[in-house]
Amino acid sequence: MTRSLQIGVVGLGGMGRPMARNLVAAGHAVSGCDISAHAVAAAAEDGVESAQSPAALATRCELILAMVWDDRALRDVVFGEQGLLAHDGFAGGFVDLSTTSRAIAIDIGAALTARGAAFLDAAVIGGGVAAVKAARSPIVVSGDQAAWQRYRPVLEQLGSCDYVGAQGNAKAVKLINNFLVGAVTAANAEALSLATSMGIEMTEALAWLRHGAGGSRVLDSYYGALTEQGRYPEGLIGHRLMAKDLQLAAELAESVDCATTFPRFGQQMYLAFGRTLGPDSPFPTALDYFHRANPAASAASAAA
């Protein structure tokens, strides 16, 4: 049986809040903080005690999890005036589950280790908000192996975990996964728009092609949900965040001297989708962009 811990959660948004709720349900004493007072108040309804800052969490928690927006936010969580390292005595474990760069994971790992704390970089690589709520997310974890062994029982209360080795590996897997998701989604959107132009409704195209050579989880999950339920799954990130993720993938490729085309191309396309459809519009709405850009698809879609 997993022993109960004092656990802190930084970032109580779409992913962080259900994680905190699951930890409460598992019997842990959970505190949380967020830049949004509304998010903190909402999490309090789930039994999450509010804290003012990551530094405040560091004074009372053995394990702290983060699920924040980007590298800048994560840097602030660790190195900021009210960050973890502002509290001299923090010697517990810190697990970052955000979509952030491999470089910052390595930086934070070095800084925390030097202060006697432990750091694991981790990421949720599938299933979306629904899987997080059900504590069934596939999660990758890397870094300090002793810390992995120590905190594994807690992390496995959030989903199915795979340990992938050296610090930064989990972030690399996550960025490659999100690169695939972003590029395949946009390419699928383009293909479905072309099908519409050629007189094939999306429902038909999906029914006939989802089990073929061009099939993908994107096609099933996002566009399958759209055709079957009339809406995309809840909690999908917007074009702005997908552009950020693709930028991180491009930077990872550049950092390891790997020639790639689609991360940068995809990033530029998602910026364009965001300008046309709104930066926080769910990223599979790329379909609407391709419809708008192609009058035949637009007319056929409107008629349907």
Partner: protein, 268 residues
């Protein structure tokens, strides 16, 4: 029945037809195809299945009216990856002669992980009596798509989906290797995630040669142009796949076999 064409689709079709008890006469790519269609029809009771990489041989065959009408009950089921507009154009150009041209595509579907060649055809093919045994040979692996040209359109969409996915997966695997990740482990993890694709899952049983995928995408872009539709990701993927082909970093074996060291050596 006759079977005219070359490459992997021919082998798949021949196997299907012969398994169903049909006698198949073949004409390969090196033959004079515009003569072969007619010769085949005469020899084989008037039913020929054709599969060409481009529309040119098909157009040539039907442009020769004398040859095409040498037998007045010729039925051609063409499963080449041509554009729907081209098929409609060809079908109308051979009428009002007694030659019947109907369209289809053979696409791969995965059933319980096993690749299953599936014949997609337009409605009008089902109304051609001499074709019934040919269609029946596909059993449950026959999909009737609707109006003329829809099977060709679906084939092109499948080519677009699979081609771009292959290009993206290749880049993802190359990136993973360069980042020091173990390729089989990465494949296993990615297949659990939101980025899972059929291309990655089935690459070892359904190899897609990068140069062939690039050529398929070029046909898609051309067909899209006929439909006044721009294809951005497909166009970019043509170049990416060609580069991967040149550097042998492609799916010709499997994405997990991408050889990034060679990529780097060539680049250097």
């Amino acid at each position: 029945m006759g079977l005219v064409g070359a490459g992997e689709p021919v082998d798949t079709l021949r196997h299907r037809f012969e398994t169903a008890g049909l006698r198949v006469a073949m004409a390969g790519a090196s033959d004079d195809k515009d003569a072969s269609i007619v010769a085949m029809a005469v020899r084989c009771g008037g039913v020929v299945v054709t599969t060409f990489g481009t529309e040119a041989p098909l157009r040539a065959a039907f442009a020769d009216r004398d040859a095409a009408t040498a037998r007045n009950d010729l039925v051609v089921l063409d499963v080449s990856p041509i554009a729907p507009a081209t098929q409609r154009d060809l079908a109308s150009s051979v009428r009002p002669s007694s030659v019947t041209l109907v369209g289809g595509r053979v696409l791969m579907r995965f059933r319980d992980g096993a690749p299953t060649p599936t014949l997609y055809i337009d409605d009008d093919a089902t109304r051609v009596v001499p074709l019934r045994r040919v269609l029946a040979s596909f059993g449950d692996d026959l999909v009737i798509t609707g109006a003329t040209g829809r099977a060709k359109a679906l084939g092109l969409i499948d080519d677009l989906l699979a081609g771009v996915n292959a290009a993206v997966v290749n880049e993802a695997m190359a990136l993973g290797r360069s980042a020091g990740l173990d390729a089989p482990t990465l494949v296993s993890l990615l297949q659990k995630g939101s980025g899972a694709t059929s291309v990655m899952a089935h690459a070892t049983v359904a190899p897609r040669d990068t140069a062939a995928s690039s050529a398929a995408l070029a046909r898609v872009v051309s067909a899209a142009q006929q439909a006044d539709h721009s294809v951005l990701f497909g166009s970019v993927a043509i170049g990416v796949l060609l580069r991967q082909s040149h550097l042998a970093v492609g799916l010709d074996a499997a994405p997990v076999n991408c050889d990034v060291r060679r990529d780097r050596q060539v680049a250097a």
